[in-house]
């Protein structure tokens, strides 16, 4: 009757590597499972940002002139530089995963450090940009100022972009633009900060050789996260900075 028994002995003789958790039958299973879990987590991230993208789409259609004028307040140079930085960091991260897979500890550490520095650079530039908004009272809330949009001539960015004054009611809607700007880039920056903290930890562990013995999952999953954050920015950049530069 052994063929119909539930509890047939499974072959269970092989050795477990130290990083295999007890409830997994094989290392393969563990890697498959955790990798899949990481992807599912990224799904929740997509939906999390999805809510804000929906809002953005609606208001951009409603208040197009306000969105154009407000986007002219963003600095293309900083924005492009940041895009460059983030893409590079994605590249170094990908190389990091590769080095871990190839068990090259030195390269791995180097790649992680580069990613770390690029991430910090991104945040630094973001801070500069935020500071500028703060000084010009473009942070939504009680101190929000419409000056740049009502009198573009008094404002360097607006003047350079050749903006015409917006009527008061349209100018008011620039606040919605900046709300979305801060909400979206803020959430993005938050993800960067979390990522950088994790990177710090990983550099520490990588130097101890933790990821170059064949168990690359952590680096790989972190890479997925980092690339995801990069993708979000790939969309944020044209949507927020480049709404319409020709006007």
């Amino acid at each position: 009757m052994s063929d119909s028994s539930t509890l047939v002995q499974a072959d269970h003789a092989h050795e477990h590597p130290p990083y295999q958790r007890h409830h997994f039958e094989t290392m393969q299973q563990q890697v498959d499972a955790t990798g899949f879990a990481m992807w599912l987590f990224l799904l929740t991230e997509i939906m999390f940002f999805g809510g804000m993208f929906t809002a953005y789409l609606i208001y951009r259609n409603w208040y197009y002139p306000a969105f154009v004028a407000a986007s002219h307040q963003l600095n293309i140079f900083w924005g492009s530089l940041n895009t460059l930085i983030l893409i590079s960091s994605s590249f170094t991260m990908a190389m990091g995963v590769w080095s871990a897979q190839m068990r090259k500890q030195g390269t791995l550490v180097l790649c992680l450090v580069l990613t770390f520095i690029l991430g910090l650079g991104f945040l630094g530039i973001k801070t500069i940009e935020y500071k500028e908004k703060f000084e010009k009272h473009h942070v939504p809330g009680a101190h929000y100022s419409l000056n740049s949009f009502l009198n573009p001539d008094s404002d360097k960015e607006a003047k350079d972009a050749g903006d015409k004054p917006l009527p008061l009611d349209m100018a008011r809607h620039t606040e919605i633009y900046f709300s979305l700007y801060f909400a979206m880039t803020g959430m993005h920056a938050l993800h960067m900060i979390i990522g950088i903290c994790l990177l710090g930890y990983m550099i520490f562990r990588a130097r101890q050789g933790a990821y170059t013995t064949g168990h690359v999952s952590f680096v790989e999953y972190f890479g997925l996260y980092w690339h995801f954050v990069d993708i979000v920015w790939i969309f944020l950049f044209p949507l927020l900075y480049l709404i319409s530069r020709h006007q």
Binding site: S5, A10, H23, F36, T44, M52, V139, S179
Partner: protein, 559 residues
């Protein structure tokens, strides 16, 4: 050799609870608080959600007391508003959403698919801690004055026109939301990756299927609620204007985002319960579930279509008339898989060999009450009748029928059904049957009159109401009292049975699931050796063969 029961217990004079099991494995509070064992986490969840159910239920009691008389005499209107808000928030986010998945699902899914644990035990524990953090924040909110926006947090009311603790409640829901995301994520990974050899998708018990479907909703829906809450919080603290009509924002956008989660959430709340019903009906009629594939796929269909219908909560709120056509139609479509399930369960009884133990009674209660609740949902899904019925007690009745009459019944059914597995002891049968009947009667007395109230036009969320509605409200309050007793009873006798219940043995119901083939309570690692599955779910013939072959040899003692 027919008797009225299928229960077969070991000889009580010799039977013992197995010495080593997941409960006795380690001792001390810390061993529980730091556990990675899905079964222990399930128990932790069970205790915590019962606690919050008691709070939510007590608040329901207050609501019903206040509504005994037309005037708002027991409490001031704003107190009443806080009471029903907290009732809704606690019952939904802290009780019903985690009810079946986090307790029974947590306990059973790994065992049912032949795994030693969920794929991510630490994440599972993290879920529980997040849940507790969320719950603590809700308690904190209650202690510091509560919140009075209704559980739907409609903007701009919640952002600009109340000065109660919207932020702490929002944070609580945000955190509890992540708890639910992680549970769902864990289930999906586990079901995909941890199935025992031979456990193909179409051999999975339907309980696993329905939890799988619910998990999809948790993972994909909940983040949208999270971002909606973040935006509300920013609106309140900074005044960003995204939902503020005076700044050009659209308050309806909030509702789109909120219901994008909260409609799928109602299916998060019902699907796992449907899974319980499949197991129970099959076991107590000794039959394979009629049309297994249809029932399995209908769960997935509900989950997928559940994402397309959220606007039916906003039909009269100023959305485009034309888009209501789409959403109303899709709502009608999503109702069909539920009908399929009900009929498939009914026909599972056909030519079965039916017994009427407590889980089965609750399951019957579920089928009747959910049918009523679901069909009245269709009243609301038809845009024309929704105009009259929306925002009245008709809705209140609708959702209590599906949530309390449906899911809570299913939860109780499941708790009774798997109680012997979880604790190793039987619950007392007679009194629990009584409790099931009391619950059923009390439930109908409480909520049926509310349909009539709603049709008569009594608005929901009213602390006071016109005289002529009093009589039906009195019925409802009387019913709630009966219902309260019906819920108190299980809490009492189940606790009692922990010590004095009969020893259950590994398979008191002669059920086919893998969980019944191991000892009760199970070992920490569930299976001494991972089973190899060679039969479909609900294969009673296989079970008979097994029994014959093994005669008195307990499967669990193999390990």
């Amino acid at each position: 050799m027919s008797s009225a029961t299928i229960v077969s217990l070991p000889d009580q004079s010799t039977a013992r609870i197995p010495k080593t099991n997941f409960i006795t494995k380690e001792n001390g509070l810390l061993s529980w608080l730091l556990t990675g064992d899905h079964k222990r986490i399930a128990i932790l969840y069970l205790i915590s959600i019962t606690f919050f159910f008691a709070i939510g239920g007590s608040l329901a009691g207050l609501i019903r007391l206040e509504l005994l008389t037309p005037q708002s005499d027991l409490m001031a209107t704003d107190t009443y508003n806080k009471v029903f808000t907290m009732h809704g928030v606690i019952m939904i986010f802290l009780f019903l959403v985690p009810s079946v998945p986090a307790t029974l699902g947590n306990f059973l899914i790994p065992i049912m698919i032949g795994a030693k644990d969920l794929a991510l035990p630490k994440v599972n524990l993290l879920s529980w801690y997040l849940y507790i953090a969320g719950g603590t924040l809700v308690l904190y909110t209650m202690m510091t004055g509560g919140v009075d926006t209704g559980w739907t947090f409609t903007t701009p009311l919640s952002t600009h026109y109340v000065n109660t603790n919207v932020l702490s409640t929002g944070l609580a829901i945000f955190i509890a939301g992540f708890s639910s995301i992680f549970t769902g994520l864990n289930f999906i990974v586990t079901i995909h990756k941890m199935r025992a050899p031979g456990m193909t998708w179409f051999r999975l018990p339907l309980f696993v299927w329905s939890n799988y479907a619910a998990s999809i909703l948790m993972v994909l829906g909940t983040p949208v609620l999270a971002i909606a809450i973040v935006l509300v919080a920013l609106e309140r603290t900074v005044g960003i204007g995204v939902f503020d009509p005076t700044k050009g924002g659209d308050p309806l956008l909030f509702q789109h985002l909120f219901w994008f989660y909260s409609h799928p959430a109602v299916y998060i709340m019902i699907l796992p319960g449907m899974g319980v019903i499949s197991e129970v009906i099959s076991t107590f009629s000794r039959k394979r579930v009629f049309g297994y594939t249809a029932v399995a796929f209908s769960s997935v269909a509900i989950a997928v279509f559940g994402f397309f219908v959220w606007e039916h909560h906003m039909f009269i709120m100023g959305v485009s008339n034309y888009s209501t056509l789409v959403f109303s139609l899709l709502t009608m479509l999503v109702a069909v898989p539920s009908a399929i399930k009900i009929f498939n369960w009914s026909f599972t009884l056909y030519k079965g060999s039916i017994t009427f133990e407590t889980p089965m009674l609750y399951a019957f209660g579920f089928m009747g009450l959910f049918t009523i609740g679901g069909l009245t949902g269709v009243f609301l899904a038809a845009t024309g009748t929704d105009i009259h019925l929306t925002e009245t007690y008709f809705i209140v009745a609708h959702f209590h029928f599906v949530m309390v009459g449906g899911m809570l019944m299913a939860f109780l059914s499941g708790i009774h059904f798997w109680w012997p597995k979880m604790t190793g002891r039987m619950y007392p049968e007679k009194i629990s049957q009584l409790a099931a009947v009391v619950t059923f009667i009390g439930f109908n007395l409480t909520f049926f009159p509310q349909f009539i109230l709603g049709e008569l036009g009594m608005p929901r969320r009213y602390a006071s109401y016109p005289e002529e509605f009093q009589i039906l409200n009195v019925f409802s309050t009387a019913g709630a009292t009966v219902l309260g007793v019906g819920y108190l009873l299980p809490i009492l006798y189940l606790t009692w049975s922990l010590k004095y219940g009969e020893i259950a043995g590994s398979n008191p119901w002669q059920a086919t699931g893998l969980e019944w083939q191991i000892q009760s309570p199970p070992l920490t690692e569930n299976f001494a050796e991972i089973p190899i599955v060679d039969h479909d779910a609900y294969d009673y013939e296989w079970l008979e063969k097994m029994e014959l072959a093994k005669k008195q040899q307990e499967v669990s003692s193999v390990g």
